[in-house]
């Protein structure tokens, strides 16, 4: 028996959803026009006014927002509400312009948590479940989002946050946790550790897992499901739009249902910016029609995927997105953290090194590894092994504070980094996802 958190809306007819979207969009565009001068200017430049937006069919007339807009408008330029009406911020990692700081009113938190509650319910969660949230809590959206969703469903919520694997396992076993929320790589790691401790799938009380914030393959899903004896569900989201729960998987595991009453999805050609017909592969663009404090309109996610409206066996009618197949920019997602090669370059330059580097990303034992190879320079080199190690450590610390991620720094011979047509290959991603 499929369960729904908000059946009326999750299983509404296409016409009903379109009507809801149109009504909310018209209102949202007016709200943004009145309250966000940054976006109003963009609309004026395009010659669009709120009067031009009468339904979802007019969405394509509106200008796009991108990560660059967030950088330019940082921190308050895209705020749609007075700060006194805001109750929370969440943020992505990164210490420079790449950092996203998103604002929430209580209404925004509620709708975000509703989305997460839909995901937990779709994974079979009820108020009889014990839901362990092993996503990081804090600025990262993973922990707070699923925590709120778990409360709404009425699960007994175990807010372990990330890390301390043996304690995680102790809580799963002692409190008989039935649902686990974390990144897929951490789920795989937990599974390995439990296996080492002699716990087989039948010993582990978990029945479902909600895993997101990074890319994972069907093979990885299969492995996790087998090791933990659970059904593993994918969840999608981004801080700009609220966090996890923008889209989630149902029992059919055939793509993620986008919470369309809150987020209107479009697929565009990243080069021409034209909207593509349903079923085409392209860049995913979202309009958050309900959010007050941080009302993103036509936000370019840079994720490449396809959408489908084919009937889903779970009964939900909301459009489904496939797993993102890649990015239309150079962003990497490593252990759930967004990483841009330019951030790594900044750390090198800040420390007085030339930007001769290569980033090697791999997945070892289901955990992403980041190896930054730096060409040795006369500035970095001395006859003293200890001093070089110290300088290496300064780079590791610099990367850690810039990315919020531990990276390995390897020193390689000058001119040894492959250059194709004179341009160095900056990223080698060996992960098979």
């Amino acid at each position: 028996m499929e369960r729904y958190y908000q059946e009326e809306i999750e299983c509404a007819s296409y016409e009903t959803i379109r009507a809801i979207q149109s009504e909310k969009l018209v209102k949202q565009v007016r709200h943004v026009w009145d309250n966000v001068p940054y976006y109003r200017k963009k609309m004026e430049e395009k010659g669009v006014t709120p009067d031009d937006i009468k339904s979802v069919d007019d969405l394509h007339k509106l200008p796009f927002l991108s990560k660059n807009d967030l950088r330019v408008a940082y921190p308050y330029g895209l705020l749609g509400k007075d700060l006194k009406d805001c109750v929370r911020i969440q943020s992505t990692s990164g210490t420079t312009g790449k950092r996203v700081v998103a604002f929430y009113t209580q209404h925004d938190i509620d709708l975000w948590e509703d989305c997460c509650a839909r995901a937990i319910t779709a994974a079979g969660g009820t108020n009889e479940d014990v839901c362990q949230v092993s996503y990081g809590y804090g600025l990262f959206t993973g922990g707070p989002g699923l925590n709120g969703g778990s409360h709404k469903v009425g699960c007994l919520t175990v807010p372990t946050s990330s890390g301390n694997t043996d304690r995680q396992i102790m809580f799963i076993m002692d409190l008989q946790a039935t649902i686990l929320c974390c990144t897929p790589s951490y789920a795989a790691y937990l599974g390995e550790r439990m296996k080492e401790l002699g716990l087989g799938p039948d010993d582990i009380p978990l029945k479902a897992g909600i895993f997101g914030a990074e890319a994972w393959s069907e093979e990885m899903r299969h492995d996790i499901e087998k090791t933990l004896g659970i059904k593993a569900y994918d969840i999608y989201g981004l801080t700009e739009l609220s966090g996890p729960g923008v889209a989630f998987e149902c029992s059919a595991q055939q793509g993620m249902h986008i919470n369309e009453d809150h987020f209107i999805a479009e697929i565009i050609d990243p080069d021409t910016l034209e909207v593509l017909p349903e079923g085409s592969e392209g860049e995913l663009v979202f309009t958050a029609v309900d959010k007050e404090a941080f009302p993103m309109i036509r936000y370019r996610t840079r994720d490449i995927c396809t959408l489908t409206r084919e009937k889903c066996s779970c009964g939900r009618t909301h459009v489904r997105m496939g797993k993102p197949k890649g990015r239309s920019d150079d962003m990497l997602i490593i252990r759930g953290v967004n990483v841009f090669p330019s951030q790594i370059e900044t750390v090198l330059l800040n420390n007085g090194y030339a930007a001769n580097y290569q980033i090697i990303v791999d997945r070892v034992n289901n955990t992403d590894t980041l190896d930054v190879q730096v060409e040795m320079t006369p500035e970095m080199f001395t006859d003293n092994v200890g001093e070089i190690a110290d300088r290496q450590r300064v780079l590791v610390d610099g990367l850690k504070s810039m990315l919020g991620l531990k990276a390995k720094v390897s020193l390689v011979a000058p001119k040894s980094i492959a250059r194709s047509e004179g341009k160095a290959v900056r990223v080698i991603d060996k992960r098979k996802i």
Partner: protein
């Protein structure tokens, strides 16, 4: 009259050291001493040559990263306690040794020498010579 040592960055792969000696050999650079320091990921070759400026240029030309610094070269009497007596003077003068390696002085009637890397070469050298130690200069090395 301290001596210049060239350090060369070597990645940890078979043949890297040979590539360096190959470049030096092709350019007829005479090496007087060599020592290798290794870490998990890379090595440092420390060499003493007859013509430092020329050798550095040659290595740079071949894309090696180098660093030049001062070291002290001291003759060690070839007898029991020879090195110990020497180190007693270093200790008495509070000169800290970071690393050292040996080399051979002269071709006929050769004697033993030791290269010392100390914290502060310029202040250490007069202290040691005042104690009667003979510290070899760049010219001494070139003439060997």
């Amino acid at each position: 009259m301290s001596l210049k040592q060239i350090s060369v960055f070597l990645v940890n792969k078979p043949g890297t050291l040979k590539n360096m000696t190959g470049v030096l050999a092709a350019n007829k650079v005479d090496m007087r001493a060599i020592s290798l320091a290794e870490t998990k990921e890379f090595g440092i070759a420390r060499i003493i040559v007859d013509n430092v400026i020329e050798a550095v240029d040659i290595l740079k030309e071949a894309d090696f990263v180098t660093s030049v610094n001062s070291v002290l070269a001291v003759e060690v009497p070839d007898e029991p306690g020879g090195l110990n007596n020497l180190l007693e003077i270093f200790a008495a003068e509070d000169v800290n040794i970071e690393y050292m390696y040996s080399f051979i002085i002269g071709r006929e009637n050769a004697s033993a020498g030791m290269i010392f890397r100390v914290g502060d070469t310029s202040s250490a050298e007069p202290k040691l010579t005042a104690r009667g130690l003979k510290v070899l200069s760049q010219e001494d090395i070139a003439e060997l």
